[in-house]
């Protein structure tokens, strides 16, 4: 028998029976708790532990009932495989014994029994580790069991921290030694009185609690988000490229196809309306037309305005003797806000006029009675430039050297000549006019022919009761030395930028009037104070076949008629008298009278020259006479405005004005005739309104009243024709504003036979006047007779 066999055989044998041959006690080569067993297939079947079927290497454990094993051992006695383990089985405390299939024959047999409880437990538990976590969970959900508290030393800390009475509280009773019922005095004591009265606990910085401020230096650099860098490449393959192209076009058939398509028809229909509207718009009106610019170019001219001080300021200024320089300002329409030229004058200018033969020469009458001359020939180009450019005028850099802002300054023209103060008027010059180039006047006032056909003489009037004739030429007696005379004209004509043109240098400050006409009063002694005058313009009939007179030696420079310094007053005898010049003046005076006087001086008995008595004087206006314009159509018709009326006079009618207007509410300040219509004239009022009168339509009231054209008194009205279609009226007011109006066509185009009708009208009025006067005289005589009759009675 193999050594193992006896063991199993030993198991099989019942206990009481002695084995035939006690198996040699072999040292078990297995742990005590393990009992290897060999199980035959029959046994395996019996206990349902067939190897590799019921029990495998994965589940090698099988619990066998102890009772079954004992029964098997009883039934099969020695044959039972369990007999060697009989004792162990019997000793086994539990009812079930673990049988383990040992595939690997660890203990020598393919099965073994686990005979101790601990081993069984151990064998069972390790192979079932997965059951443990489940068991733990089960533990957590259970309510915790009360356990013994294990001290870890925390109660010691608590004990240390807690405050406990170490001893019993002691009690004291104190009694103050004092008399009973003594009065008690309670008082207040300020805690601040005593040093120790209060103890403050100010807060202080405890160094133990300071927070250390740790600084660390670290550098930061800002990196740009944008970085540009460039690289250069070599143009290795030099090749110029160009493209040539040709416009795409349709062939004829394609074009025809398109044109005939439906789409094209629709297109045409939809588009035609828009296009026609746009085309017609163009025809109707040009929206881009700049009216103001067109106005400027149409006018093409410059307006010159003399600005004077207002009345109120004048009174102030009269006390202070210093004279303020004032200016005549030239405006151009292309730049209405900036003056183009300034003519400097020593005092306010009340009246000025351009020379008819030479528009570069201007004469002005000052407030202090002096006559002033300017020559703007140097600035004419400047003005023309201003007109044409229409932009901000930049002064010619040659003209001003000392001015810093050359571009913004307007050129100032200094006066050429000013009359001698002693010989000027003693009162402001209210009117100044050039004599027409057709005639000139001698010292006696006799009109003679004007050889050079230039205006050389000026007439001025002033409320100092005199009218003066001035000549811009020097009298013969004041001949300049030959050297000066022989100066070449070129030198003279050239002007240094700063200096004043030398045109009238000969006159400067020494200018004396040619002759003086006084205005003695007709009825009383005394004189009239003229404000405005008007003489008839003489258009001479030239006798071209006249033999030219022998010229004076001074008249060498006749080629340059402008050279006034070389001109000399001709001696009276050389020139022929012009007989048919009307030498009579109409004068409007301060008192509202119209005086008709002949300016020719007469020699009275003593040989002195004196003025003739006025031929006529009428007091029509109640106030100052403002204007005396002569009608441009009828040489003998004059309009006078003043006070609250205006009157129309005809030269030759000595009895009075042929037409007198009704008194109006506002004072008439200016009057002027229309340049194109004989019967139309404009009256300006002191409330800033303009009345348009048409004598043929209505004689008693204006046909149009443009009320409140400005808010101030209208100081002057001047009509101007720029083009046959454009007629303008320039109106100035007391505020210093110039208004330019366009005269509507209705007032420009004369009606049929207007002048003829007007002439008839004037005739009618004349006869009416005569009739009236006659009747008045008649009535007067009747009155006288009646008076005499009553006196007699």
């Amino acid at each position: 028998m193999p050594p193992k066999k006896p063991k199993s055989a030993g198991k099989k044998k019942p206990k009481g029976q002695k084995a035939p041959s006690p198996p040699p006690i072999e040292l078990p080569d297995h742990p005590e708790e393990i009992f290897p067993v060999v199980l035959t297939s029959v046994t395996q079947e019996l206990f349902a532990c067939i190897a590799d079927e019921d029990v495998t290497s994965e589940s090698p454990y099988k619990l066998l009932k102890k009772a079954d094993i004992i029964e098997d051992m009883k039934t099969r006695a020695a044959v039972s495989d369990f007999s060697p383990a009989k004792q162990k089985v019997l000793d086994y405390p539990e009812d079930e014994i673990l049988l383990v299939f040992d595939r690997d024959f660890v203990y020598g047999t393919c099965f073994y029994l686990v005979v101790t409880l601990e081993a069984k437990e151990l064998l069972i538990t390790p192979p079932q580790p997965e059951e443990e976590p489940v068991e733990i969970e089960r533990e957590v959900s259970k309510t915790p069991e009360l356990k013994e508290w294990i001290s870890l030393g925390s109660e010691v800390e608590i004990e240390n921290e807690s405050v406990r009475e170490t001893r019993e509280k002691l009690g004291f009773m104190l009694r103050v030694q004092r008399k009973a019922r003594a009065p008690v005095c309670f008082s207040d004591r300020n805690a601040a009185d005593d040093k120790h009265g209060n103890l403050g606990c100010p807060s202080y910085e405890d160094s133990r609690f300071s927070i250390k401020w740790i600084q660390r230096d670290c550098g930061i650099q800002a990196a740009p988000t944008v970085q540009s860098s460039s690289a250069q490449t070599q143009w290795k393959c030099r090749k110029n490229m160009c493209t040539q192209y040709k416009p795409r076009e349709f062939s004829e058939e394609e074009k025809d196809n398109i044109l005939q398509s439906e789409r094209m028809k629709e297109f045409c229909n939809s588009v035609i309306l828009r296009m026609l509207v746009a085309l017609q718009q163009e025809e109707i009106m040009n929206v881009f037309h700049d009216d103001w610019k067109a106005l400027g170019t149409a006018l093409g001219s410059v307006i010159a305005v003399a600005f004077t001080e207002k009345k109120e300021q004048r009174s102030k200024e009269s006390t202070s003797p210093d004279v303020r320089p004032s200016h005549i300002v030239f405006f151009c329409f292309s730049n209405p806000y900036e003056p183009q030229l300034l003519l400097e004058c020593p005092d306010d200018i009340y009246s000025f006029q351009f020379c008819p033969s030479d528009p570069n020469i201007i004469v002005g009458g000052c407030r202090n009675g002096q006559v002033v001359l300017w020559d703007i020939s140097g600035h004419v180009t400047h003005l023309q430039r201003a007109q044409s450019s229409g932009k901000k005028v930049s002064a010619n850099t040659d003209t001003f050297e000392l001015d810093d802002n050359k571009e913004s300054k307007t050129p100032v023209v200094r006066l050429c000549a000013v009359s001698a103060v002693e010989s000027s008027h003693k009162a402001p010059i209210t009117d100044v006019q050039w004599l027409p180039p057709t005639f000139e006047v001698t010292r006696m006032g006799i009109p003679v022919e004007n050889k050079y056909k230039t205006s050389v003489q000026v007439v001025t009037c002033s409320p100092d009761c005199s009218i003066m004739f001035w000549d811009v030429r020097l009298p013969k007696l004041l001949n300049q030395p030959a050297s000066v005379r022989k100066q070449s004209p070129d030198q003279k004509a050239e002007m240094t930028p700063f200096s004043v043109p030398d045109t009238f240098k000969h006159l400067d400050r020494t200018w004396k009037p040619l002759c003086r006409v006084l205005l003695p009063n007709i009825k009383t002694s005394g004189e009239y104070a003229p404000l405005k005058f008007n003489f008839q313009n003489y258009t001479c009939n030239e006798n071209t076949d006249r033999i030219p007179e022998e010229a004076d030696e001074d008249d060498e420079s006749s080629e340059i008629p402008r050279d006034f310094s070389q001109l000399r007053l001709p001696s009276d005898k050389n020139l022929t008298t012009l007989e048919d010049v009307n030498t009579k003046l109409y004068i409007g005076t301060e008192d509202g009278e119209i005086v008709y006087i002949d300016w020719k001086l007469e020699k009275d008995e003593s040989g002195r020259l004196h003025s003739t008595k006025p031929l006529n004087c009428f007091s029509v206006h109640s106030w100052l006479v403002n204007t005396l314009p002569r009608s441009p159509f009828f040489k003998d018709v004059i309009l006078t405005t003043g006070g609250w009326k205006f009157a129309i006079w005809q030269e030759g009618v000595m009895d009075g004005p042929i037409i007198v207007s009704p008194s109006s509410e506002r004072a008439c300040t200016v009057g002027c005739w229309s340049l194109t219509r004989p019967a139309v004239f404009f009256i300006g009022k002191d409330d800033g309104s303009i009345e348009v009168w048409n004598l043929l339509e209505k004689a008693s009231e204006p046909i149009q009243v443009h009320a409140h054209v400005t808010t101030a008194k209208i100081t002057s009205i001047t009509p101007w024709i720029a083009s046959p279609k454009q007629h303008f009226l320039a109106v100035t007011d007391e505020l210093g504003v110039i208004h330019v109006f366009e005269i509507p066509k209705k007032l420009c185009i004369p009606s049929k036979n207007e002048s003829v009708n007007l002439k008839i009208y004037f005739e009618l009025e004349k006869t009416r006047l005569e009739d009236y006067l006659r009747r008045e005289a008649l009535w007067e005589t009747e009155q006288k007779e009646a008076k005499e009759l009553t006196n007699q009675m």
Partner: protein, 96 residues
């Protein structure tokens, strides 16, 4: 064909009209009253301008569209009426 002719005649009858060009949407002239070189030049340049103008109008408001374009120059005025497929270009000399 007759429609086109009629349109051209009506436009030509207006005062100051110097030339008329009908251009398709790509800028190729279809019908013209001017000479070839001017037509081609006008067509090419104006086509680009109209495209730009139209895209401008539509960018600002997608519901909007260009209906008419007028270019006023010193010497004349160019009027362009765009449509879906074609443009009509008219050059007029406005009377001052």
């Amino acid at each position: 064909m007759a429609e086109v002719e009629e349109t051209l005649k009506r436009i030509q009858g207006q005062k100051g009209v110097q030339g008329i060009i009908i251009v398709n949407s790509e800028g190729i002239p279809v019908k013209t009253t001017l000479d070839n070189s001017s037509t081609v030049q006008y067509a090419g340049l104006i086509h680009q301008l109209v495209m730009k103008a139209r895209s401008t109008v539509r960018d600002i408001d997608p519901q909007n569209d260009l209906t008419f374009l007028r270019i006023r120059s010193k010497k004349n005025e160019i009027m362009i009426a765009p449509d879906k497929d074609y443009f009509l270009i008219v050059i007029q000399n406005p009377s001052d």
